[in-house]
């Protein structure tokens, strides 16, 4: 079985481009050009250079000694939290802004939930001197004030999404509507491996630098370029796609995906799409999504805004259905506790999204000679208020 996208834009049963005709020219332009543009030597050179001197890559692959001792296995952390702007999101926005420039686009739009992708987009727009508009749910604007301020400081306009439930999915709808209204001069920088083909594949390719580095870093550290397990949190699934990418078809590597259970899978307040979702269409992609029996998309819940998406990228839906990956879900409380554990055992304060991934250590058993690589997708600065409230710091 193949776990990369096929020529029609599908991962097994999932993916495709279920888009209104108004979006067809935009998405088609992208589909026809993304592979050839990103393969140009000049593109690659600029992308690699920016990742190096601006983002700070390669990010370290860090052997977590104390954690390894405690869990009696070999634990490595891929330090995406050390990327400029504090998370893996910027790998994708660098790639997409370079692509947008080569397509002659003059205006960038993006959606954001917690504000991480919005900040990463505003950052690359500032870097290139391009107009930037970020759609953000009205509720999220209230909940994530520091990131709103960062985007504004970077020169972006933050537009409140006032429709529906006023959160991430509605911000995405608004960004898509903007793109319909501005089909010629605008590029939409989507923030995860979601949306219509070619977005999931394009974003996965930009994030693939994570596993590309992991391979040679592991070879140096352990004498083999593959681990036994790769583990990442999944919201839309971009940091996970990046860590899995070069191991997707390598059966020696076990893939573990961690979703947010929120207040518990059966609580009605959860974001565990693999457990609660059914096949359907969200934001132009056929995938698993949380919905009512009548096919209305429901509002997910997680304490971490970055995992609070009612769908999951089509690659992950396929990994789940084909059982290539094992999916687990972790409730708020355990994730928060892991935020504290990682801080105090390794001196790394993780984003709450990231903290979910580490909770896999309590759920899965790993052997003493096995190598486990975690994607440390982001740092916890943005979450300090939530940590303060939660732990009464």
């Amino acid at each position: 079985m193949n776990f990369n996208v096929d020529e029609k834009g599908y991962y097994g049963d999932f993916g495709g481009a279920f888009i209104p005709e108004m979006l067809y020219p935009n998405v088609e332009e992208l589909r026809q050009n993304y592979l050839s543009i990103t393969a140009e030597p000049d593109f690659k050179k600029e992308f690699d250079e920016l990742l190096k001197v601006y983002v700070g890559r390669p990010t370290p692959l860090y052997f977590a000694k104390r954690l390894s001792e405690k869990y009696k296995t070999k634990i490595y952390l891929k330090r995406e939290d050390l990327c400029h702007t504090g998370a893996h999101k910027v790998n994708n926005t660098i790639g997409q802004i370079l692509l947008a420039q080569r397509l002659g686009k003059k205006r960038i739009i993006a959606e954001t939930g917690a504000g991480q992708h919005g900040v990463a987009t505003a950052t690359v727009c500032a870097l290139m001197g391009i107009e930037c508009i970020v759609y953000m749910g009205e509720l999220d604007i209230q909940r994530q004030a520091p990131n709103v301020a960062r985007m504004k400081m970077l020169g972006a306009e933050v537009r409140p999404a006032q429709s529906g439930s006023k959160t991430l999915k509605d911000a995405t709808n608004e960004a898509i509507r903007d793109w319909i209204n501005n089909p010629v001069d605008t590029h939409y920088i989507i923030g995860s491996v979601v949306g219509p083909h070619p977005y999931p594949d394009m974003v996965a390719r930009f994030q693939a630098v994570i596993s590309e580095e992991t391979k040679w870093q592991l070879a140096e550290a352990e004498g083999r370029d593959y681990p036994d397990h790769v583990i990442a949190c999944v919201g839309g699934g971009s940091n996970a796609a990046g860590l899995y990418y070069h191991y997707l078809n390598d059966k020696r590597v076990n893939i573990i995906a961690v979703e947010a259970a929120g207040k518990g899978i059966d609580s009605g307040e959860s974001a565990a799409t693999s457990a609660l979702g059914k096949e359907g269409i969200i934001h132009g992609s056929k995938t698993l999504l949380m919905q009512t029996p009548d096919g209305q998309i429901t509002e997910p819940y997680s304490i971490s805004a970055g995992l609070d998406y009612p769908g999951v990228g089509p690659m992950h839906a396929h990994l789940f259905r084909s059982q290539r990956a094992k999916f687990i879900s972790i409730p708020d409380q355990e994730a928060m506790d892991w935020g504290l554990t990682l801080s105090q055992m390794e001196g790394i304060i993780p984003a709450i999204e990231t903290a979910h991934a580490f909770a896999a250590l309590d759920v899965c058993k790993f052997g003493p000679e096995e190598i486990v690589v975690f994607n440390c997708s982001g740092r916890g600065d943005k979450d300090l208020d939530t940590y303060i409230d939660y732990f009464k710091l």
Binding site: E21, I176, R177, N181, P183, K278, I281, P293, D294
Partner: protein, 254 residues
């Protein structure tokens, strides 16, 4: 013969109205249809509400959200339409997003459409290519037409493909935009209408998005076989109510 074809055979310019089923009130569907037919409207698009209507502007979004809050569901709409063909003869089209239809079951959905007497569907997020490969046979089996959208950005080649796959009519989106009322059309729109007219397509064209009054209706039907009014009608329903529908129709077409 499909009622849509019959309607176009009559030869006159068509006026078609769109509303969100379940809005303003849950049980308004049948009263609205009766008023529209009595006022001389030629065809109706009944909107199946969806939580995330990404091709729609604020007016249709809000009516859709309200309809869902009122309790509208796919099953509920079919039950409202159960006896509709005893009173309504004009073509009825269901317009909705693909996800609720998938959850209902596409096959069952088509079957229910046929049972209640729906003539066709407009599904903005089911692209023509996917329809052609996976669903066309099924729709045909149930006597359902499927209408596709084209926009000023749609390439000529693609328009010809859509023309080939289409039956009923081609839905010409007036400008690159989501749904929503406009007061006038500019020269860009008229150029586009004329360009399409010159292509001499086999399928008749109907203009939608941005039609709101007699002026935009006239401008659209000067170049196409008909026009569809959505947002402006929904606003009217909200403010003036179902009883006064004939006044709205008179304000568009004498």
């Amino acid at each position: 013969m499909n009622r849509i074809d019959q309607k176009f055979k009559e030869g006159k310019k068509l006026l078609s109205l769109y509303f969100s089923a379940g809005h303003p009130n849950l049980e308004d569907t049948v009263p609205i249809l009766k008023q529209l037919q009595a006022s001389g409207v030629d065809m109706v698009e009944i909107g199946l509400p969806f939580s995330d209507p990404l091709a729609d502007g604020p007016t249709i979004q809000e009516s859709s959200t309200q309809a869902l809050r009122n309790g509208m569901t796919t099953e509920k709409l079919f039950s409202q339409l159960e006896e509709i063909r005893q009173e309504i003869q004009i073509p009825l089209i269901l317009m909705g997003y693909f996800n609720p239809m998938m959850q209902f079951g596409i096959e069952k959905f088509c079957q229910r459409c046929e049972e209640v007497g729906i003539d066709g569907l407009i599904i903005p997020d089911l692209p023509v290519d996917i329809y052609h490969e996976q669903y066309q046979t099924l729709f045909n089996q149930h006597g359902l037409y499927n209408m596709f959208l084209i926009t000023p950005q749609t390439s000529e080649e693609r328009i010809h493909f859509i023309d080939k796959v289409s039956n009923g009519f081609i839905y010409m989106v007036s400008s690159a935009s989501v749904t929503g009322a406009k007061n006038t059309f500019g020269s860009a729109q008229t150029d586009y209408f004329q360009r399409i007219k010159k292509m001499k397509l086999n399928t008749p064209t109907v203009v939608g998005f941005g039609i709101s009054n007699a002026e935009t209706y006239e401008a659209a039907t000067a170049h196409a076989r008909g026009a569809i009014i959505g947002s402006a009608f929904i606003k009217f329903l909200e403010h003036q109510g179902v009883e006064r529908i004939p006044e709205f129709i008179k304000s568009i077409r004498k």
